[in-house]
């Protein structure tokens, strides 16, 4: 079960995850509040009539980008969680541990509270840009605190991240208190996290931060294996520990900030999925990271299916579903361990 140090076993495990993710990915767009006729879609896509039926339009312009978004965000959160649990040596670490979730939320809530501010720049809306700005401030602050002569202190990083998170969760009610009450619903709704996008624009907004962030993290698998043996042992083995930790912090922050700016805070995915993957595939981070990406993506897409069908024709914020499904599942996992 834990033999993953050979290439063939690694490829086999990766293919299984890929296959499972692909199944979810292909089926998910067909499920939703409106039932879609597959025959109609095939006729639209293969025929030469230029105007598509409503079914095809819903599928292509709403369901597919939404599934893609959910997949990328869920995958990113799970990878960030896996990496943080290793570098912070803490099984409770999650993307929100870095403080980016809180700092981004403060930015977004500020943007929502000032409606005159609404603008957009490229694929970004003002709320997204403010969320990113908030994350940026948080990131700088944490980096300054945790930086030391050689690399960063992981202990300070953990404490600073958690503190920023707590601080932000105090600032948000303050902003709400000061804001125009009309905006409260929009703020609350944003804070619940959701994948309700309208098209491909939000997807484009993911690319500058989330994609490079996740890419950099996925390359750290081998190095992270060594870091699980302790920083000094890793150093002795020849790993540039300071660089790996700095990259992990920066890339993890980028990916989290990117995800939060678009879908809001979504909890539990980044905490639970890494544990599940380690249960299934062992501790080799070279499989844990891509496995977490594929499984995290699939998990969030599945949660989103529930979110948009359970109370159809309206929908529920996906953050509620991840927590309600994830929490008990995690407890079950812990009970089984005993």
């Amino acid at each position: 079960m834990q033999d993953l140090l050979s290439r063939s076993r690694w490829i086999r495990a990766l293919l299984l995850y890929l296959l499972a993710a692909l199944v979810v990915f292909c089926l998910a767009p067909w499920v939703g509040g409106e039932s879609i006729s597959a025959g109609q879609v095939v006729r639209d896509l293969t025929g030469d009539n230029t105007s598509w039926s409503t079914d095809t339009q819903i599928l292509i312009y709403q369901r597919v980008p939404r599934v893609l978004l959910g997949f990328l965000v869920g995958g990113a959160l799970a990878v960030v969680g896996s990496v943080l649990q290793v570098i912070l040596r803490n099984p409770l670490a999650a993307p929100s541990t870095l403080g980016m979730t809180g700092a981004g939320s403060v930015g977004a809530v500020i943007a929502i509270s000032i409606p005159h501010l609404a603008f957009s720049w490229g694929p970004f809306s003002s709320v997204q840009l403010f969320a990113l700005l908030g994350s940026g401030v948080g990131l700088l602050f944490i980096y300054m605190l945790a930086r030391q002569k050689q690399g960063m202190s992981m202990n300070t990083l953990l404490l600073a991240g958690v503190t920023i998170g707590i601080l932000c969760s105090a600032i948000i009610p303050l902003i709400k208190y000061l804001a125009n009450p009309d905006m409260l619903v929009a703020m609350d709704r944003w804070m619940m996290g959701g994948l309700d996008v309208v098209g491909y624009k939000e997807l484009a907004a993911l690319f500058p931060l989330l994609v490079p962030g996740v890419g950099m993290l996925l390359l750290q698998g081998v190095n992270l294996n060594h870091i699980t043996l302790g920083e000094e042992m890793a150093l002795g083995h020849g790993v540039n520990v300071a660089a790996v930790e700095r990259i992990s912090f920066l890339a993890g922050s980028l990916a989290t900030a990117g995800a939060v700016s678009i879908v809001g805070p979504i909890f539990f995915v980044g905490l639970i999925v890494p544990h599940i993957i380690r249960r299934i595939s062992g501790y080799d981070q070279r499989i844990v990271l891509p496995g977490a990406f594929l499984a995290g993506g699939a998990f969030l897409v599945l949660c989103d299916i529930i979110a948009r069908t359970i109370v159809a024709p309206t929908e529920m914020p996906v953050g509620i579903i991840t927590a309600i499904l994830g929490g008990p599942f995690f407890i079950l996992l812990l009970l089984r361990k005993k």
Binding site: S6, W10, T228, L229, E232, V241, Y283, D284
Partner: protein
Amino acid sequence: MLGIIGPNGSGKSTLLKIAAGVLAPLSGKILLGKDNIKSQPRRKIAGQLGYLPQNTSSMFDYRVEEVVALGRYPYLSGMGFLQKEDWQIVERCLEQTEIKIYRDRPISQLSGGERQRVWLASILAQEPQVLLLDEPTTGLDLHHQVAFFGLLEELAQDGMAIGVVTHDLNLAGQYCRELMLLRSGEKIISGLVGEVIQDDILAEVYQESLYVGRHPVNGKPIVLPVKK
């Protein structure tokens, strides 16, 4: 084999960390071969120098074989998969440290002494010429202490330069060729075992009256406490 000895807080571990390039010296430099260790990439250092930190523990429950295989890092690139030759070296290290029978066991199921051998095997897989160990036998029973130092002696005989920090003056006296005695960050004396283990020197450094005698079997120096 060089033993680094001295009371608690005398700077033994710090000296070893600086020698291993884990800590940067406040002044001066460490040469590995002909080059300053600071200017060399970690990977290159690891191919020449093995360092076993104090109290090593793993976050995850890897199998013995996997931990040893991780030692091949300096020679791997990309995703870090081991080639056939790498596995042969892992095999050799497992044999050398006599942990081959445990190779498929999770490390959590081993005793402290066995686990210490796993870490050593993992470092030997780096094929270093220099080995630095920080209190490798602290907390082990007599059998494991003797077995571990016996293994180090073999490695030293095969031409490896070994520096070991230890509290156990008797073990150091039995196995090391030379000793370096430290007190509050300064070297008091270094030299052959017999030159360092002398009652007046030790009594002064440890602030304790000690009995220094000869081992009845092999004549090497031994140190015993004296009750006041």
